[in-house]
């Protein structure tokens, strides 16, 4: 059994918030964008940070939000 973090929009589960952020920014649909807007986050800003600056600033910023927002799910991974 492990703690998984659930994408607030779709069914995607990740073991780390940064992974979940990476998933999140990889989605191109409106639903994912809308949730960001509802959290006052700018998709544009996150991506721009992520791809034009070194490190993982975009992912990190979103991961921090997800730490609060993503539901925790217990799943048996064996």
């Amino acid at each position: 059994m492990a703690d998984w973090y659930k994408c607030p929009v779709c069914r995607k589960l990740s073991l780390e918030h940064q992974d979940l952020a990476r998933h999140y920014l990889g989605q191109t649909d409106k639903k994912h964008k809308d949730w960001l807007k509802s959290k006052n986050l700018s998709y544009s800003h996150l991506i721009t940070m992520q791809v034009t600056e070194f490190g993982n600033k975009g992912y990190d910023a979103l991961a921090k939000v997800l730490e609060k927002e993503a539901a925790v799910v217990q799943v048996d991974v064996k």
Binding site: S42, Y43, S44, Q50, V51, T52
Partner: protein, 767 residues
Amino acid sequence: METKYSVIGKPTGNVDGMAKTTGEGKYTFDMYLPNMLYGKHVRSPYPHAKIISIDASEALKLPGVKAVITGKDVPGGKWGLWRRFRELCDQIALADDKVRFIGEPVAAVAATTKDIAAKAVELVKVEYEILPGVFDPLEAIKDDAPLIHEDFENNINATRHIEWGNVDEGFKQADYVREDKFTLFPQAVVSMEVHNSLASYDKGTGKLTIWSSTQSPYYLQLGLADALKMREGDIRVIKPHVGGGYGGKNSTMPDATTAALLSMKTGRPVKVVFNREEEFTTTEHRMGLHLAIKIGLKKDGTILARECKIITDGGAYTGLGATALYLAGIFQTFPYKIPNWRYDAFRTYTNKVWATSVRGFGAVPTVYAAEVQLDRAAKEMGIDPLAIRRKNLMEPGYEAPGQYKVESCGIVPCVDKMAERIKEKWPKLEKDEGIGYAGFAYMSGGIFNWIDTPYAYSGARVQVNIDGSVDLFTQAADIGQGHNTVAVMICAEELGIGIEDIRLHPGDTATAPVDLGAWGSRETLMNGNAIKMAAGQVKQKLVDLARAKLGENIAYDLVCREKRIYLELRPERGYSYYEMVEAAIKLNDGEPLIGTGHYTPHNKGMISPAYGMGIMAMKAKVDRETGLVEAKDVLIVHDCGQVINPLGARGQVEGSVHMGLGYALTEEMPNDNGLVLNPSINDYKIIRQRDMPQIELLDVPTYDPSGPFGAKEAAEATISPTAPALANAVFDACGAEFDSNCLKPERVLKAIREAEKNQKNKAKAKK
């Protein structure tokens, strides 16, 4: 080199060389059908605009005009090459609601002459409502940027994440870490033959035949099926000789859809030929992108981690751009062992023509960044650039977890051979000369099946006739790269006959089984395997018959070679090939001998069954006064498995270096708010023959178990090292660093000044 082969491995002139050089070989461009009409597009002058109305009444009044079509006349829907993801199938035959780039077709006319068609185009009145456009990927993703496709928020067309190992941990352990940023410019596809198609629709049967300058008859068939709302099988695509594709003829383009639509409307054959300006402004090109790359190494030069992030300027549609996005993240890791790797990539829609597959696709921009960065790191770490590469090379059996497996792998002997040869070849450099290196690798066709074909990846059919002559059918596409010759050589080798015994029937969807087309260096391995299997089926019949007639021990092996079928160890015991063929057909109750073959990769990872690889060294000279860079001399050591046709491989290497040098030095597509500023051969500078360096090509023979006779990718790989080797040579000569390709004199001069300043600063600092 002694060889056990009779046909393959021997330098062989192209089977269609004579026909092409005498002008007898027919390209779609040359074709004419009685009663034929000429189609021409009405194109948008705006990069982003709503279509309010289209009035064709004046055009239709012009004598000789037979039809005008608009988006309303298109029976089908959208299409694209990413058929597994229908939302990425975004191409349309004629814009129906809005236009997304300058030059997008909004209507088309068919007329009895080209001149009338051109005149008619001017008479079609289109009313637009201009929309704001967006032209840079970083602008495109802004929350307030205009949306180019409704369903794609922030204009993100596709994203890609690839990761293995533990990148963060890798960087932590590294003794040396550096980060670099690059902007790679797009590159045009400059095929000698423009996009053009000739369509003939039979209203009686509802079946379409189309001749087209395409890299993939099957992809065109699929695209047309979607665009025209027809069944694939009711569309026959014929690919005559093709005067170059380079990746730019994989998509179904408006030359084909419009020719088909106009033929369906008029019931007459219709030809659509793009002019050179349409070619530059409305057809696909290599992606431009912004890139950030980070590397971590041990003191001894061992790479511990690499991370790369890109955002690409996708243009208005998808094409094979989403595939390029993926491959960019794969081939940046080759031919090195990168234990920890992370890749984040975003493709954006912009109001420009779109980017797609182009020779060495995926690899070219990202390999540039990686190889250039490696030299900067080597220099700072005080390691020889060849040695740092040697340190990190892949070995046979190497795997990138979840992505690829490398079976044959001759990169280590390639680099060793390079090191040796360099010493003899360039013992001393002149002033302002430098040597740059770049490693390279490329796939032998792609395993990913985003086109979602239910067919085998390649097929072939062999028919052996009573006189021993062979008809060989395949949809595999020779687009100038010489696959027709390779196909015939493989068939001849397998049957033990000569290439003169074979008549090849390539590129016709009706007469041959499916092949996915000429992209990603797939034909030699994939179609070669299909051909070998098909020929092998017939060979088996001949061998069985000869064995039965000889009545020999069943353990004795028979071979087909030099038009005989005989006991391998008793060559005098056997029969003529011709005799066996005749007997076999008679035994077959008078049916000719048919073999069918196919190839689909299994258990070879996600990318490709095999990888050609190697190392390039470039000697260049820099004119410090003018900034002019001269590529003087190229040395390539290439592991490309069993070479089928050395003459063809050599030619393709030269072509790759030529196109790579254009990318390195001269080819640029300046764009002003969606307008391509240099849409002509005069203004878009490809490398002239007289500016080509000498190329020495050395071979490291390997045998790839996936390939026919051990063959794999050859020569496409050699485009990606060309630009970084050149940049590294300039760096070696004068320390100038570049954050882009296209080292035009003004960029070089600026970089030299910058380098000189840095050196002074460093010298000062030392003091």
